[in-house]
Every structure is written in structure tokens, then in C-alpha cells.
């Protein structure tokens, strides 16, 4: 009896000690590629923080983030969690097929319509808007009953109804819903694939007054087959297969002449439409349009003199390259990275057409959208 207890003591305490020491003395990373986020920094003790306990909360998350072998622990954790009960890990529903977000902020996207209405009133150019459902909106019907997700199709149509009549709306939801058996959404991400973007592009470009480039004009290159997206970052679950990222290249089409970006600190620099170096990082998705910047200006060999302003969130990253075929100049704005107002960076009056492209999840973000307002 005693000997068993002794063995237990030695085993468990040794295990705890080893991991405590490894955590304390191990290498500390600032950024986790697997989770695609910055890890917590060492808390700096200050009087107020110690007093109300926030420093110890920070210490807790520091230990958690830098715990030895964190990634293996996380992967094991999500494996066990899915076996234990429902397949929900950190708010993500895990199936063999795909990962689906179950979190529900409860915010309505309808109030966001004000922002676009006032934008359309203030500017003379034509305004187009695409509200793109997230993967949960298209594939959400497999979720268990008790996860009350608002229906994205209903949200989008209510949002569209709240828009002024002179704003052109594009019904991405039904296009995507019809094609749901195709590879239009990543298995491990909330966002659409390039193919999903292409299917919506065909409709969008017609609304914008041009003919879409046919599918067979493109040569499709699979740049990676090991992409794991933002839902993977939250679960580290490798249950669904890794995703494929594609580049659609139209050899006969227009070429990019220049691509300048404005960084959030105001400095300008050179950008690229496809930044393959990003494939080596944790944030593979940023291969499209490179690292996120507030403003990107792309000029092409197209000599139609058409200019377009695109205001988008990350859904737009793989969508914009399709538009390059048709315009001699496109300015891409990400309100997420803007510091200040849209009008501080871009003279909206120069653009006869403005395209807004947002996922329903960012339409909930009022603070971010308010930067669009003049």
C-alpha cells in the first residue's frame, strides 16, 4: 500500500516539476504560428494591477500561453473534448467534414446599414455592396439544435432591406448556398475559398457592368495543401483534412503594373498581390494581398481608365485579384487596419464605383465600420 503511494507521489510530483521547470526556463515565443496570435507578455507589476488582482490574471494567462509544449496540449485537449461529449471545442463544432463556429455575439448587423446609407448620400459614385455569409451561415444546419445561431440569410436580407434604394446589393448568400456541395469554404476557416469568391465575382462584375472572365481562362495553381484557418487556430483540431489554397492566374489578362501600400503609421511601401513568403508563417491566408495594410493601390495594364474603390474585410483578400482584370486602378481599403477615417487616406470622389465587401461577422463590428463614415 505504502509503496504504491510513494510511487504515485514520485511520479506525479516529478511530472509536475518537469513541466514547471520546462515552462519556467523554456524558450518563450512572442507569437504562436499555430494559433495565429500574439502570446501574452510577462505582466509588469504595477500598484493598481496588484491591488485589484489583474496582474495575477495576467500572470495566469502568461503561464498558460507559455506552458511547455502548449500546442501538443491543445491538440490533445480538443481530441479528448470531442470524445467526451458533444464535439464542441472552444465554441467550435468539430466534425470530420469541417469546423464550424458556434459562437453567437447576438449583435444584429442591421444597424450597420446606416454607415453605408450615409456613405452613399455623401458621395456621387455608385455604391455596391456584398454581404458574405460565414461558413457557419452556409453549413450551419448541421449544428445541434440548442446552438441558437441567428440565421445569416435572414440577417443579410434584413440588412439589405435597411439600405437605401440606390445602393446595389448583391445576393452572395443564395449563390453560395446553391453551391454548398462544392469547395467554396475552407474546412478549417470561417472564410470562403478562391472558388467561392470566383462564383460570387461572376455576379458582382456583371452588376458592375462588365463581363466575367470565364473559368477556363484561368490556370489554377495549388500553392499549398496544408492550410489551416482561424477555426483551427482556436481548436488545433486536425480532424478535417487540411485546406488547399489556390491562385487563379489569367495569362491572357492584364498585368499588375504597380502596387503601393500605405502602412498604418502613414509610411508608404511596395505591396504584392500574392505574397508567397507568407505561406511559411502561421498566417497563410495573408498570402492573398500580403500582410494586412490599411490602404493598397493597384494599377494594371488595363487601359480602360476604369477606377474602383474596394472597401473590404478579410473576405476580400482573395476576391480583389479577380477584379484586376477589369480596372486600370483599384484602391483597396481595410477599415480594420485604418487609423482614423477612410476619407483621411482616400479621396472617395475620384472613384465612380465603390464596392463594399464584408463578411457578416465584420458587419457586427460597429466601431470598425464607423471609420468608413466621412
Amino acid at each position: 500500500m505504502k509503496i504504491v503511494s510513494r510511487i504515485t507521489a514520485v511520479l506525479t510530483l516529478a511530472f509536475i516539476a518537469v513541466f514547471a521547470v520546462m515552462t519556467f526556463f523554456g524558450d518563450k515565443k512572442d507569437f504562436s504560428a499555430e494559433e495565429n496570435r500574439c502570446l501574452a507578455a510577462v505582466p509588469e507589476p504595477d500598484k493598481d494591477g496588484l491591488y485589484d488582482g489583474s496582474t495575477s490574471v495576467q500572470l495566469g494567462s502568461y503561464v498558460t500561453d507559455h506552458f511547455a509544449c502548449r500546442n501538443s496540449w491543445l491538440a490533445a485537449g480538443s481530441l479528448i473534448q470531442t470524445q467526451l461529449s458533444e464535439s464542441i471545442v472552444n465554441g467550435v463544432y468539430v466534425t470530420d467534414e469541417r469546423l464550424i463556429d458556434t459562437r453567437n455575439s447576438g449583435e444584429s448587423i442591421v444597424p450597420a446599414a446606416d454607415v453605408f446609407n450615409s456613405f452613399a448620400e455623401d458621395n456621387d459614385g455608385m455604391v455596391y455592396i456584398v454581404a458574405v455569409p460565414t461558413s457557419a451561415g452556409v453549413y450551419g444546419d448541421v449544428l445541434p439544435h440548442h446552438i441558437v445561431r441567428r440565421s445569416e440569410s435572414q440577417q443579410i436580407s434584413e440588412f439589405y432591406d435597411a439600405l437605401n434604394s440606390d445602393i446595389r446589393r448583391i445576393d452572395a448568400y443564395n449563390i453560395l448556398k446553391m453551391l454548398k456541395d462544392n469547395y467554396i469554404y475552407y474546412r478549417s476557416d470561417t472564410k470562403w475559398t478562391v472558388y467561392g469568391a470566383y462564383c460570387v465575382y461572376k455576379t458582382v462584375i456583371q452588376k458592375l457592368g462588365m463581363l466575367p472572365t470565364a473559368y477556363d481562362k484561368f490556370t489554377i495553381e495549388h500553392v499549398t495543401n496544408s492550410f489551416r484557418g482561424d477555426l483551427y487556430n482556436r481548436t488545433l483540431s486536425e480532424k478535417p483534412k487540411a485546406d488547399i489554397m489556390d491562385i487563379y492566374d489569367n495569362r491572357d489578362g492584364t498585368e499588375v503594373v504597380s502596387c503601393t501600400v500605405i502602412h498604418s503609421d502613414g509610411s508608404t511601401g511596395e505591396g504584392v498581390v500574392y505574397d508567397r513568403s507568407r505561406l511559411g508563417t502561421g498566417d497563410m491566408y495573408s498570402m492573398y494581398l500580403g500582410e494586412s495594410v490599411p490602404v493598397m493601390n493597384i494599377r494594371t495594364t488595363n487601359n480602360s481608365n476604369n477606377k474602383l474603390l474596394v472597401v473590404k474585410d478579410s473576405f476580400g483578400d482573395c476576391f480583389v485579384p479577380f477584379l484586376l482584370q477589369h480596372y486600370s486602378e483599384i484602391t483597396v481599403v481595410s477599415p480594420e487596419d485604418l487609423e482614423g477615417k477612410l476619407s483621411d487616406y482616400v479621396n472617395v470622389g475620384d472613384y465612380p464605383q465603390t464596392l463594399f465587401l464584408f463578411g457578416t461577422d465584420s458587419l457586427e463590428n460597429r466601431e470598425m465600420l464607423s471609420r468608413i463614415k466621412a
Partner: protein, 459 residues
């Protein structure tokens, strides 16, 4: 900082064990006090100051009472003052009623004194015991400080009398095998909290997501069963972790939960569920009242009222009170009705049913909601089972059955009865590996957020 967090298991626990065993034996009690103060400081500096003040004030009051004891009337003044202070502190943080006190002591917005339900009652009990002359006011501040602050007792008790606690301190005996027992207890508690309680909580919230007037009967049953089991595993898990930690320091705390669910009688349930708190209420509230009540029916009313207080101690609102009163009433009715022996199996069934039905009140927000819920449980919404119920049943039935087994004493009995046979040897041999494996599983489960903070009740 809760016991089921990486910071505690892989930070505070090993460091405190190391410091403790490096200290010479004579100074170890002081070391424990320092560690406990550090633990409070890690919750927040404000909490540390708060609990130190609380300790000092109560320590002084015990001595005031001790000095004035010769004159009983004079001694009653510090006694009353001390009890009022402790009760007001308890009410101020457990309820929304005494908010001025929080403002008065400039408590930070989110401040909650961890374990106040335990240490405030402990302090009150000690004041009364000193007044009654059952114990002498202890000169040793270290021991009194430990009584209030000892960190393995802080979060989930057990609520002990001062004399019992000092006895435990006197019988301290550190050994490696004791640490082994402690670590297995700790891991057992961790598993109860992280594996059982947290997953059952998912079932409870999933079932509760449906509006109560559309809920099917099966969903309602699943929800409330999950709640009761979740509550049991959460409270007893935290208590086990505390007990295990104390074992590692060579101190043997008594257990609070002795497999209460699936008892064969309601009476057994009431003596096995959080037994130290129930005993506290009996010792300091109901028993003195029995003495002055000549009539039987008054004594029985007092008994039920005692349970009402216990309910309030869990949740300070009407629902908590109703839960307590119902449990007390059930125990009373049982003792009236069944003087002859009941078959074990029948006993288990009706006890469990009573516990579940009363549990509806503990889980609800308002009596009206709970009544609606009970209505749903008997199929009052016209639906026995729907797709939702089938899904939940399918996803959780294994877990429910396993936790149900784990909440009984069947395995323990099997081990004690089997004597020295092969089965027992086999279990003994694999147990160290099993403990380690469970520790690893629990670590993996809490690795994402770093702790499992979900609490049905803040005590």
C-alpha cells in the same frame, strides 16, 4: 487563483511544497501561513489585505471575549459585535443587499473574497465557542491565521471547528506516502472538476438554452440531472483538491462529501452532503434552539428552518430558501413515515427523485421559473422527447452513466470487500500510472484557457 488552473498546479503547488519541505520542522506552520498569505496575495493584494484585517479583527474579538468571560453579560458585547461584523461581511459579498459596506471599504469593482462563506462561519463559530468556554482564545496568531487563511481550505472548506483544526495541526505528519495519497486525491478532485463538472455544465446549459415553455420532458430531466451532478462534482472536486493539497503538507482534513447522491435514504443524503456545513448549522443554530423548545413540532420546524438557512447559504434568494426548506421537509417526512426498513433499491430511487425535484429550485432563477420547469418535466408542454432531446441524450448518455457510477461508493466498496485478491492487486499496481494519466488528461483539457473557472456557486 483556483486549484484547477495551470498556474496553481504547475506553479504555486510545486513551489510551495518545495519551500515547505526546505523549512525546518518547527517553523513549518509559519511557513504555511506565509504561503497562505502569498496565495491570497496572488488572488489580489486587496483580498490579502481584506483577509488579514478580517483575521486580526476576529483574533482580537476572541481575546476580548476570553478576557471578559468571567462576567457573562460583559462578554456578550464583544461576542455580539464580532458576530455582527462577520455576518455583515458575509452578506455584503454574498448578496446584493449590503452594498454600502463594499463602498465603505473601497472594494474594487470585481472583488470577491474567495471562500468567505467558509471562513466567516468558521470565525463566528470560534467566537461562540470561546464565549461558551468550550475552548480558550488561542494566543498563537499563526494558528488562528491558518484557521482562517489556510489555502487548501480557502476555496471549498471544509468548515471546521477551531478545536478540530488545531487537532489536525497537532497531528501533522509528513511522509512521502502521504504525499502520494494527497496527489491521488488532488488528481481525483481535478478530474471531478475538469472532466465531469465542466462537461456536465455544457449539458446543463445546452438543455437550458431552450425556452422553458417549449422544453420536452426528456430535455428537462437531462438538464436538472446534469445540474445536480455538476454541482456535486464541482463542490466535491474542489474540496478533494484542497484535501489532497493539505495531505501533501501532512495535514489530514476530513472529507465534506461522502458519496451523497444515490444514497439509500434522504436522511443519509442530508448527512453526507457538505456535512461540515450542515453540522455547523446544527451546532450553532438549531441545537441551541432545540434545548429551549419543549414541543416536538417546534423542534421539527426548527430542523426544517435550519435546512432553509443551509439553502440560503448556497444561494441567497427565495429559490435557495425553498430548496433548503424542501430538503428539510423531505427528510422530516421520511423520518415520520418509514420507521421500518426500506429496501435499498427503492430507497435509492425515491431519494434520487426527491434530490432531483428539489434541485430544480436550486438551479432556477425564480420560483415561477422552477415551477414552469417542473411542469415541463412531467411533460406539461405536450412533448416527451424531441430532436434536441435525442441529440443531447445521445451525446451525453455515456458521460452521465459514468459520472453516475463515479458518484456512488460502489467502487470503494468493491475495493474494501475484495480483500487481498488479484483484482485489488491489479488496481493497486496500475493506480500510479492511472493517476498520472488522469493528470495529463486534465492538463490537456484546461490547457486552452489555463484554468477551469466555471462555478455554479461562489461560496
Amino acid at each position: 487563483m483556483i486549484y484547477s488552473s495551470l498556474l496553481f498546479i504547475y506553479g504555486f503547488l510545486p513551489v510551495s511544497l518545495l519551500l515547505y519541505y526546505l523549512t525546518p520542522k518547527k517553523l513549518r506552520e509559519i511557513m504555511l501561513l506565509i504561503l497562505s498569505i502569498a496565495f491570497c496575495g496572488l488572488v489580489s493584494l486587496y483580498f490579502m489585505i481584506f483577509i488579514l484585517w478580517f483575521t486580526v479583527v476576529n483574533y482580537l474579538f476572541t481575546h476580548l471575549i476570553g478576557r471578559a468571560r468571567k462576567n457573562e453579560k460583559l462578554a456578550a458585547v464583544p461576542l455580539a459585535a464580532g458576530i455582527i461584523i462577520d455576518l455583515v461581511a458575509l452578506l455584503a459579498f454574498r448578496t446584493e443587499y449590503v452594498l454600502w459596506l463594499r463602498r465603505l471599504i473601497r472594494a474594487p469593482e470585481s472583488f470577491y473574497p474567495v471562500g468567505i462563506s467558509f471562513f466567516a462561519l468558521g470565525a463566528i463559530g470560534t467566537l461562540i465557542d470561546v464565549y461558551k468556554g468550550r475552548i480558550k482564545a488561542d494566543r498563537c496568531f499563526t494558528r488562528y491565521g491558518l484557521y482562517i487563511m489556510f489555502f487548501p481550505r480557502l476555496i471549498m472548506g471544509p468548515l471546521l471547528r477551531y478545536r478540530v483544526f488545531t487537532n489536525i495541526l497537532d497531528n501533522r505528519c509528513e511522509s512521502l506516502s502521504g504525499m502520494g495519497v494527497g496527489m491521488s486525491l488532488f488528481v481525483k478532485g481535478l478530474a471531478k472538476k475538469v472532466i465531469a463538472a465542466d462537461t456536465l455544465y455544457m449539458l446543463y446549459t445546452a438543455a437550458g438554452n431552450e425556452p422553458v415553455d417549449e422544453m420536452s420532458a426528456v430535455t428537462a430531466w437531462l438538464g436538472v440531472v446534469a445540474f445536480i451532478f455538476c454541482l456535486y462534482f464541482e463542490l466535491s472536486g474542489l474540496a478533494d483538491m484542497g484535501m489532497g493539497t493539505a495531505y501533501c503538507f501532512g495535514l489530514k482534513l476530513p472529507q465534506s462529501f461522502n458519496y451523497p447522491l444515490l444514497s439509500t435514504r434522504i436522511k443519509y443524503f442530508t448527512t453526507r452532503w457538505q456535512s461540515q456545513t450542515v453540522q455547523w448549522i446544527r451546532r450553532y443554530i438549531t441545537k441551541p434552539l432545540y434545548g429551549v423548545c419543549p414541543k416536538k413540532w417546534i423542534r421539527e420546524t426548527v430542523f426544517v428552518a435550519g435546512w432553509g438557512i443551509f439553502g440560503l447559504w448556497y444561494v441567497f434568494d427565495l429559490n435557495g430558501l425553498i430548496w433548503g426548506l424542501l430538503m428539510g421537509l423531505a427528510a422530516l417526512i421520511e423520518s415520520r413515515l418509514s420507521r421500518n426498513k426500506v429496501m435499498n433499491f427503492t430507497g435509492i430511487i425515491y431519494t434520487f427523485l426527491v434530490v432531483i425535484l428539489c434541485g430544480v429550485f436550486l438551479s432556477g432563477d425564480s420560483p415561477a421559473y422552477s415551477v414552469r420547469y417542473l411542469f415541463a418535466m412531467i411533460g406539461g408542454n405536450g412533448v416527451i422527447a424531441d430532436a434536441q432531446a435525442f441529440y443531447l441524450f445521445k451525446s451525453y448518455i455515456v458521460l452521465l452513466l459514468v459520472t453516475m457510477y463515479a458518484s456512488t461508493d460502489l467502487f470503494r466498496n468493491l475495493m474494501t470487500r475484495s480483500g487481498r485478491n488479484r483484482f485489488k492487486t491489479a488496481v493497486m499496481v496500475v493506480s500510479p500510472v492511472l493517476v498520472l494519466a488522469v493528470l495529463i488528461i486534465c492538463t490537456a483539457l484546461i490547457s486552452y484557457s489555463g484554468s477551469s473557472e466555471m462555478l455554479l456557486m461562489k461560496l
